[in-house]
Amino acid sequence: MIRIEKLTKSFGKFKALDNISLHLEKGQAVSLLGPNGSGKTTLIKSILGLVVPGKGSITINGRLVSKDESYRAGIGYMPQIGRYPDNMTIEQVIRMVRDIRKDPADCDEELYFRFGLNKVRHKKMRTLSGGTRQKVSASLAFLFSPDIYILDEPTAGLDPVANEILKDKIAAECARGKLVLITSHVLSDLDGLTSHIIYLQDGRLMFHESVEQLQARTGERKLNKIIASILEKQNLITC
């Protein structure tokens, strides 16, 4: 579904992404991991067309990202920080995005109701807490049942109940054969959810493997243990 070929992006002298090639397929739940500043957000933004790639190409369902914007109809994006115009209400924000999408009749409003946003729909965005804003962002990302979900730190700032609701929803969408791309620093949140792991460091792709492969290789079950053991080994090699 997403094919990235030799993607390179530099900001001045700094190489944010260095020659990255990736193939992501349907039904996968891919975790995008890496330390701060490793290029995760730049990669996501390149897929969304927010960052113009320097070299290389990105194709989604066979369509080149740089060509036109229609491919984005098949993507649901949840940003890391959701900031909305101060005086809009929750209802207006959702209405507006629906209007932009030409108001499809069947919208997936499950998260909207399960998060209880319908009870606070007349509240202005300015007055909302960070967590509630995250809930709005999540509801928007899942509203149009897209084929691809791109979730940037989706669980940051959510309370435990909302966290579970969101994880259930992600798992359900994955089971329906959607592609989910998640970045998160809370590895325990990703346990049991992800099928593949992409690890970036200094803009370079360190590895892209399925969780089973990694488990077999390291002999660990938990995601944080797996990552820790791989990083330790790499440090030994470089020393």
Partner: protein, 255 residues
């Protein structure tokens, strides 16, 4: 595209700064028009207020608002929409709501107290200036790397056009006063939308000759009608050119 404008407009109408801006303008208008009995005198005072307030407030407020909506613009751009459309609708929503605030704050008092043609011209001048400086703010927004620099640039640009430009022009006139620079001055003035607005209004009030060198020059070279048309045309260019440039830059910008 229009949908986004509509929501931006609705959001800004409820914005407290816009409300305060409108109220301050209204209070100033009523006081100035009430104080000075003659309509021309009142209009002149109000013109000076407009020429100072509108560029500074518009540029600063619009720049800050655009930077605050950066994350929201990113979210909108993750939808199947064109970049140009989103930028234009942000611009339209902003310019229209500031223009509405100006029309309410200055236009309404004028309509009640001095319902003459020149009053209409003053409102038109203010609206044109609003569109021009919103355009400039949008250009500053797409060119600046971060909010702090953007706001700094907005302050400098608005002060340049409202205060500094006149000072530079004075220096130019003094330095080259021995040469025939009259025509050149008319040309130089076209580079400042605030001066164009002033001339446009003064030509209407028939006090052009009283109000300094530039006004007299305009009257002499172009006459009232041609002068007015010329300055309106220049002002429209001032609104359109930065907007087009901003779109050009924004198309290739990394967000």
């Amino acid at each position: 595209m229009l949908t986004v404008s509509k929501y931006v407009f609705l959001d800004l109408l409820k914005n407290r700064s816009i409300l305060v801006y409108s109220i301050v303008l209204a209070v100033l208008s009523f006081t100035l028009l009430g104080l000075s009995g003659g309509s021309a005198k009142g209009l002149l005072s109000l013109l000076n207020i407009t020429l100072l307030f509108v560029p500074v407030i518009t540029t600063l407020f619009a720049t800050i608002y655009f930077f605050n909506s950066l994350e929201f613009i990113e979210l909108l751009l993750s939808q199947p929409v064109k970049r140009t459309g989103i930028l234009l609708s942000e611009y339209a929503g902003m310019a229209l709501s500031l223009a509405a605030a100006f029309i309410l704050g200055v236009g309404l008092p004028l309509l009640i107290m001095v319902p003459v043609a020149a009053s209409f011209m003053l409102v038109l001048t203010g609206v044109l200036l609003t569109f021009i400086f919103t355009s400039v703010a949008l250009l500053i927004f797409v060119l600046s790397k971060d909010k702090t620099r953007g706001i700094g640039a907005a302050i400098i640009v608005s002060l340049f056009f409202t205060l500094l430009f006149d000072g530079l022009m004075m220096a130019f006139i003094f330095t080259f006063s021995d040469y025939p620079i009259d025509r050149a001055l008319v040309g130089i003035m076209s580079f400042n939308p605030v001066d164009l607005a002033r001339v446009l209004m003064l030509l209407q009030l028939d006090v052009a000759v009283l109000m300094g060198y530039s006004g007299a020059l305009f009257k002499e070279f172009l006459g009232s009608a041609t002068g007015s048309i010329y300055s309106v045309a220049c002002m429209i260019c001032w609104a359109v050119a930065p907007l087009l440039l901003a779109i050009r830059v924004f198309r290739k910008k990394d967000l």
